[in-house]
Amino acid sequence: MNTNSDHLSTRLRDSLAAHEQGPELSPELVTGASNRRAPQMVNRQRRGYVAGGATLAVAAVTVGALIVSAPTSAGPLFTASGTGNSNLGLSRAADSAATDLMVRDQINYQYEPGSGLSAAPGKGLAYQLKLAGSAELRAQELATALGVAGEPAQAGNVDPAYPTYTVGSADGTSESVIVTWSGTGSWWYSNPGEILPTSACEALPTPITPDARIAPEAGGCTPDPSQTPSSAPDEEKAQSLAQELFAATGFDVPTEDIRITVDPGQTLAEAYLTVGGIETALSWGISWSTTGEIVWAYGHSIEVVERGNFSTVSASDAVKRLADWRWFGAGGPEFASGVARLANDVVGNSTFGNSMSDPDATEQDTAEQEAAKKESELTQPTGSPNAYPTDTPLPEENISPAPAPEESETVVVTIDRAQETLLLMWDLEGNGWLVPGYAMQHPEGWWNTVASLEEGVIALPDPDELLKIKNTRVTPQD
């Protein structure tokens, strides 16, 4: 028995006591299961298989075209949703408004400009990301590019305003390409059969592999790279192959702009949409397994439309916007960690720390795997491969006592560094925009990103109205 460990467990249980009991569910959820359409789940970590050079036969389609349109003469460019979500912007904005208030109850961040920030206003171009073509056509184009056989089929059980087309396997059990016609028209492709060689996977009991659409952290096959020599392309080859695939799907990007990450389980290629020389938050990606096959790929279906050159506020003046989630926009990869933290602050979705979003993750994970291996050797009882190891006793001082409920706390954050960039924002209809903004570095080193457009260029949602929407929304229980 480990007292410290028990104390920690008890503290965790106590902390979540309010959430311990779920609502009583109707038995009809079970008895009616056979009549309910099971959701189409897609493992977004496992997508993409390209039929070799066949992709080259497809002409570039929609992405990256820069179209200039006349700036608006009156009225705001768009009404920001205040969220990073392309779908159902109004609904999501309402959720954010409510969550923002909940978070504020505990910590009140007060942002102050430091002496290192410029007080000079400026100008910046804004762009609209418009869906190009049609969902069905795009699905067919991508299927051809990716070597997927079949005709586009519209997915049921989705909002008709945001149609989704699938070519290939509809249940995720074999290769397929899916296009969702909202936001940036994101697409993804998967071939679960090519995820990993059987020999490189831990044996999984059949009952727990009901489908191949499993989030990586939720389980699936854990590769043991030492068992199988990797046939994944090396960095140079991966860049070349990725450029070909991206071009085949309509995204033209220079080879040198494609980032390659090689780790024992996969080779990953990523590239970001660059507009005006600035990398944006919009990315395309491909991953190869150790078999050398592409296991997933993703991208978008947009054209970039220039909507005008607008006045921007100074970095110093923009600092106060850090406290207002409605000015938030997603920055490029350089500022992704800040995006993650800000997103966490806003919505309580703890995605920060995700190894895939951490540029140091590969190295760190490898080191941890080594450490875990050593730890396993130290703690694993011999002769019993499945035995549960005894925890190393934790020092008593490592466990802090459960604190009393804390009062609202004000934290003053002084910002001394800001960098101009382009930020991805969503309007209330779910359309994407790239607008000028600042990435502001916090004293701890991470970044927050806020739009820098002058007041009035875009409209901001009214938090009170959003809360009304949230509070009056019909829920399933209603």
Binding site: R36, M41, T83, I208, T222, A281, A340, S350, N398
Partner: protein, 165 residues
């Protein structure tokens, strides 16, 4: 009685007893108003794959389905990082904000854990699953569960210590 009816009856008999567990699992991870809908999806998926589940292993398998649905649900709900992270892994453990209601220090530490560490701790401590069941739920070996759980506890304790400092 037809085969289909027998199948329905058997499914209902076996799976109905897991309704409270699934409800609690979902309630700790998503907004309450989505619980019923996601629970219905959990059982709908379970129905389609029922033949593949060994007797006695239904609950860990349901947790696994639920974890996938929670992760997908969070992707849809997430703001800010939607585009950046939509195609990357999203964990399905309880959020730090749920903890923050009563224990801010623990919430800060919880947020800084890796997603896999949060999930394995949640299954062990909150769902009270044995390592074997966690292994089935996460689709990893019992050894991997043990190591991950050990590391998660150690990490959480260290993070709490950091916070205290």
């Amino acid at each position: 009685m037809t085969d289909a009816t027998t199948d329905d009856t058997r499914f209902a008999a076996v799976y109905s007893r897991h309704l409270p567990a699934i409800s609690s699992y979902l309630s700790r991870r998503i907004d309450r108003r989505f619980v019923e809908d996601l629970a219905a999806d959990v059982f709908a998926v379970a129905w389609t794959k029922r033949a593949a589940v060994a007797e006695g292993e239904e609950l860990p398998w349901l947790y696994r389905i639920a974890a996938n649905l929670v992760a997908n649900h969070r992707r849809r709900q997430a703001t800010g990082m939607w585009l950046v992270n939509a195609l990357r892994s999203t964990d399905s453990a309880p959020s730090a904000e749920d903890i923050a209601v009563t224990d801010l220090t623990l919430a800060h530490a919880w947020r800084r854990l890796r997603p896999g560490e949060r999930e394995v701790l949640a299954l062990a401590v909150l769902e009270d699953l044995a390592p074997e069941a966690i292994a089935r739920s996460l689709g990893i070996s019992v050894n991997a569960v043990s190591i991950r759980l050990h590391r998660a506890k150690r990490s959480l304790a260290a993070l709490l210590n950091d916070t205290k400092d």
